[in-house]
């Protein structure tokens, strides 16, 4: 009996996921750029295929560009809450209707939804073609590149707080000054990336450089969205997943550059 119930739950969840996937996924949102070094993790659950940022069914087909522009939500992050809550309650209703609901089954479904929740964010990405390279790959040239980067990344040094702490402080206090600080931090990341994009790079450092530019822009976009959707619990939760990846990208990209510098010194 228990096995039958379990199978029923699995079948129901699969069917609901399929329906939702077809219903919500019908309208593909704006293309999202992801870091080329470390693509975001994709959780594999029955809900993995759902586009949580897709337009809501009642708005499907409607011209949402005006409102999206008004809310600066070009990625549809604000749709996450309604899509998740709807899916959650739909699944619950389906399970109850089929007589298959148990607290464990419900929590498993919800946990799967949580695990599959991601916020894909679009941002300006760079490729090697966007970078001006210098064939000189000597140690001395690397030092010059470092000096140029020290100047270009100056805006980053204006950020005087851990971004996650700023966000947490807002959640804890509701004080809008933390949102302003987050937005300011994001702008500094963008400025740094913009400056760094103009730096002439030793040929053998171009890939590291591109990774840094994309990581900085990705992180800026993530922080911006955290600030924009800080009052939306579902969107914030999805964005936190994106945040950990974006943060990791920044650290990894600079770490790779540090390794490159050391290798130049010893070669």
């Amino acid at each position: 009996m228990a096995a039958v119930a379990a199978l029923s739950v699995v079948a129901l969840v699969a069917v609901v996921a399929w329906q939702i996937g077809h219903a919500v996924g019908g309208n593909t949102p704006t293309l999202s750029a992801t870091n080329q070094v470390l693509p975001p993790a994709e959780a594999h659950t029955p809900f993995s295929s759902i586009n949580w940022q897709g337009p809501l069914p009642s708005n499907a087909g409607a011209d949402t560009s005006a409102s999206a522009e008004a809310t600066q939500d070009k990625d549809g992050i604000s749709n996450i809450a309604d899509n998740v809550a709807g899916t959650l309650v739909d699944t619950y209703s389906a399970l109850v209707s089929a007589g298959a609901y148990t607290p464990e089954a419900g929590q498993q479904v919800a946990s799967d939804i949580g695990a599959s929740l991601r916020a894909n964010i679009s941002y300006r990405t760079y490729t090697s073609d966007d970078i001006k390279a210098d064939a000189d790959t000597s140690y001395a040239r690397m030092l010059t590149y470092r000096a140029d980067m020290q100047l270009a990344l100056g805006p980053l040094l204006k950020n005087n707080g851990y971004e996650l702490k700023l966000f947490s402080s807002y959640i804890d206090t509701g004080d809008k000054k933390y949102i302003a600080q987050l937005k300011s931090a994001a702008q500094n990341y963008r400025d740094a990336a913009k400056n760094a994009a103009k730096v002439v790079v030793p040929l053998d450092a171009v890939l590291h450089h591109v990774a840094i530019l994309n990581a900085l822009n990705g992180f800026a976009a993530t922080v911006d969205n955290l600030a924009l959707h800080a009052d939306d619990a579902f969107a914030s939760a999805a964005l936190l997943q994106t945040y950990t990846n974006a943060e990791s990208d920044v650290l990894a990209s600079f770490s790779a550059l540090a390794t490159y510098e050391k290798s130049k010194q010893s070669s």
Binding site: L38, L143, E163, A185, L240, S255
Partner: protein
């Protein structure tokens, strides 16, 4: 698509009926337990005055107890320290600003603590917000879904009138009247609009003639300019050729049927839905709107799922628990994803984890506050230099101590040998020359030989290292002095570039030098300890006279020294 929409709408209906009983259900607090209206324990209540709790308070207490909300606060962890550096700043310092030798992106321990200590309560807080927001949103949905009003019927007559008005507006604005002659289009449309408004608001006013009595009489008598001709009358006889005719045509053949149809449709929904309306995608256009979820289906499904107040409460709890599980899933993802910062806490491929490295290196101070990056970096370099200097000083102290121990051992040997030699001389009838004894013992030749071969090279190098490190510290202090009390990025950049150059010239010691020096200090200490022990053993125990010069148990050694010091 329609199934999904049905489910969404069901959710809205469901949630509406979840929250209402949740907030108004009169649970009673008895001996610390909340009892619902059928006698089930639904939660706990701790207020001393809980017996007098309002229904809302009781329900809220139940709600919180059910979902185990944790409100310890995001910053409730006491062990948080030093989490003040921006991710980008931290990465850039490690990758670009520190000298090439030191370049490595390490993570502030505080950041790691954040993941464990802050992220969880942060997501918990979001979960609480999500739970209440979801129910609020859905409640708001059911109460405002239908053009800002409830999805179910509240005032049937008023709702029918409203639907009729909407349809009438459509007739006036959707192009139906475009065929009317421009000559009296505006007049006819205005008249229709006024008539609609009148019908909706004051139907009885339709019987009142808007023309004053004396004007009406004059008009009936005929126009002042001359008689009204038959030809004119015939021309205007066609209803669509005069304003009155058109008005009546529209009223009877277009407007009234559509209004009736709209009202009938509205009533039909209400009847089939047992008081609920269809959920449609365009409620502003009564006859063109498309049904997303037939009210009857939703009503029946809702009835099936939520048959009683007890079931409603159960459902509210279930949804709340699912939201809790959803956020637990998110927390797990965030804190265990090995590509996130959390992964840094794990050892990978036999390498120490970032956490271990950071714990080991945290004393370097490289990653301090970022208000003045150059200062932060220089302080880190200074720490490394101080560490290096300390190791070198320790090596020097060890060598000095070893020298003293070797000399003390030699002195002890002489103290043992001299009496034995004197005994031997007395037994053999000769005396010893005190000057010769003094010369032999004061030169410390045996220990000096060991010192020269084993210790002097190390000591020379150590002294040079100590001097170099002291000079490096002077340079670093000068650089620190140059950037102290300034926020100038240029000054910091120049300072860091000077630092980079100094490191490249090996004028400063890096953390790697410091680590190597610490290891060397350890090795030296061990080696010197062995040297002292082994030397004493060799001098005192070896049967070889060339090595065991202090072996007083060897008669040949005693004889040798007595003969050497013979007067």
């Amino acid at each position: 698509m329609s199934i999904f929409r049905l489910q969404i709408r069901m959710a809205i209906f469901l949630a509406a009926f979840l929250l209402v009983p949740l907030l108004t259900h009169a649970d009673t607090c008895v001996n610390g337990q909340l009892i619902d209206n059928v006698g089930n324990v639904t939660g706990t209540c701790t207020s001393p005055d809980s017996d007098s709790q309002t229904a809302d308070q009781a329900a809220q207490a139940t709600y919180s107890a059910r979902y185990q909300f944790q409100n310890e606060g995001i910053f409730g962890c006491n062990q948080i320290a030093g989490v003040n550096m921006s991710v980008g700043t931290m990465a850039a310092i490690g990758g670009i600003y520190v000298p090439v030798n030191d370049a490595a992106v390490t993570v502030n321990t505080g950041t790691l603590v954040y993941l464990e200590c802050i992220l969880r309560p942060l997501v918990d807080r979001l979960r609480e917000s999500a739970t209440s927001a979801t129910l609020k949103k859905m409640t708001s949905g059911i109460l405002t879904q239908r053009n800002g009003g409830p999805q179910y019927s509240v005032n049937r007559a008023q709702e029918d009138t409203s639907v009729a008005a909407q349809e009438a507006y459509r007739v006036l604005t959707d192009g139906t009247l475009n065929a009317v002659s421009p000559a009296y289009f505006t007049k006819v449309r205005t008249a229709l609009a006024r008539n609609i408004q009148m019908q909706m608001q004051k139907p009885e006013s339709a019987l009142t003639c808007p023309i004053a009595q004396r004007n009406l009489t004059a008009m009936t008598a005929g126009p002042a300019g001359g008689p009204f001709s038959m030809s004119d009358f015939e021309n205007l006889g066609n209803p669509v050729c005069n304003a009155f005719g058109v008005y009546n045509e529209i009223q009877q053949d277009v407007l009234n049927p559509r209004l009736s149809e709209a009202v009938a449709y509205n009533q039909e929904q209400r009847i089939t839905g047992r008081g609920f309306y269809d959920v449609t995608e365009n409620a502003d256009n009564p006859l063109q709107q498309k049904t997303l979820t037939p009210a009857s289906v939703v009503q029946e499904s809702f009835q099936q799922i939520l048959g009683s107040p007890v079931r409603q409460l159960e459902s509210a709890n279930n949804i709340g628990q699912m939201i809790g599980a959803l956020f637990a899933g998110i927390t797990t993802q965030i804190t265990t994803d090995n590509r996130g910062l959390a992964g840094i806490m794990r050892s990978v491929a036999g390498q120490p984890s970032y956490l271990d490295q950071v714990a080991k290196e945290s004393s370097q101070g490289v990653l301090g506050a970022a208000t003045n990056v150059a200062l932060s970096v220089l302080n880190g370099v200074r720490q490394a230099e101080i560490s290096y200097l300390a190791s070198m000083n320790s090596i020097a102290a060890t060598l000095t101590s070893t020298i003293a121990q070797l000399r003390a051992t030699e002195a002890k040997c002489w103290d043992l040998i001299i009496p034995k030699a004197q005994d031997y001389a007395a037994q053999n009838g000769f005396t010893l020359d005190q000057n010769k004894i003094k010369t032999a013992t004061s030169s410390m030749a045996f220990s000096q030989q060991i010192i020269d071969s084993q210790i002097t090279p190390l000591a020379t190098q150590t002294v040079a290292n100590v001097k170099a490190s002291q000079q490096a510290l002077t340079i670093i202090d000068r650089l620190i002095s140059g950037v102290t009390n300034t926020a100038s990025l240029d000054a910091q950049r120049i300072s860091l570039q000077q630092l980079d150059t100094l490191v490249a010239q090996k004028a400063l010691h890096t953390q790697y030098d410091a680590t190597a020096a610490a290891q060397r200090q350890k090795d030296t200490q061990q080696a010197m300890s062995g040297l002292v022990t082994d030397t004493a053993q060799a001098w005192g125990d070896s049967p070889d006279p060339n090595i065991g010069w202090c072996n007083i148990n060897n008669a040949a050694i005693v004889q040798q020294w007595a003969e050497r010091w013979k007067k």
